[in-house]
Symmetry: C2
Subunit: 170 residues, 2 copies
């Protein structure tokens, strides 16, 4: 059996996540402007939903059970027909694991990000990703993705115990 | 000068909000099912984004300054070319004021809802609504709406001091 791979947890930034999609956060570096007679600031178009074919964009809430670290990753998946966005509603940090679009990436080619509780992401169409990883407590996320006909989920299991994320970076 | 109108604050429910759009909340009465090998519950398709023409669906964050009650409403607006969803990221309660699609409603025909901090709404296309009303503290909201060509905002000012919402119902 080969040596288990340990993915370092990187901080989520727009630049680091760019190969995988968009970061949804109200930071002063993002385009923003006043609206509503100055009573609201709009951090504008942080992510752009995209669906193919007859698909529609829907808003759902995912209620994720918390995972403890170290965590053995179990599967990666991708949605070839549309983007998928996750925005935490709990304020708690969470973890995103991604691989570039294309053939299923080797476990060593995955990237793990530690997201703050005020950071969401949108996976670009076809970006490989691990299912939702909440931390600390049961946590709700707003999810914006596609419904419609067509095959929109590919899953690739990971051999048990081969890829880990650990708490040492948190 | 006519007597000021005081709008009662009603609790936000799916049924009461149905003429104006969809409620985004993870309640057991909404369609939900397990995903991700049982580690996540998906409260599915709580709202359906809709954009006309060449528009696109984008995700933004609105940072709203808090309002104190009693509050005199100042304007209502509508977006004829697409839905607009607001989901609180702060966990704090907030207020929605709406009027049915069609000609601009009389102030007495507006409806005010007190939303819990775990309740979002999506205004149906053309639904009249007051701009964002955060309470208690500066609060962020995820907003899902349309960008694109075309005229997508009608505004109708309300005479100052004619329509109020008050704290007595909160």
């Amino acid at each position: 059996m080969s040596t288990p791979i340990r993915l370092p947890l990187r901080p989520l930034t727009v630049e680091a996540f760019a190969p995988f999609g968009e970061v949804i956060e109200a930071s002063p570096e993002r385009p923003h402007f006043p609206i509503n007679a100055g009573t609201t600031t709009r951090f504008h178009a942080l992510a752009h939903a995209e669906v193919s074919g007859e698909g529609r964009v829907v808003l759902s809430i995912f209620r994720g059970q918390p995972f403890a670290l170290p965590l053995a990753l179990r599967v990666i998946e991708r949605h070839p027909l549309g983007t998928q966005a996750f925005v935490p509603l709990s304020g708690r940090p969470w973890v995103v694991v991604v691989g570039a679009p294309g053939p299923a990436p080797a476990p060593s080619a995955l990237t793990a990000f530690l997201c703050r509780g005020d950071q969401g992401v949108q996976y670009a169409r076809g970006t490989w990703h691990h299912p939702l990883i909440a931390l600390e407590a049961e946590s709700d996320f707003l999810v914006v993705d596609r419904v419609g006909d067509g095959h929109n989920c590919d899953e690739v299991p990971l051999d048990d115990g081969t890829v880990w994320i650990t708490a040492s970076d948190v």
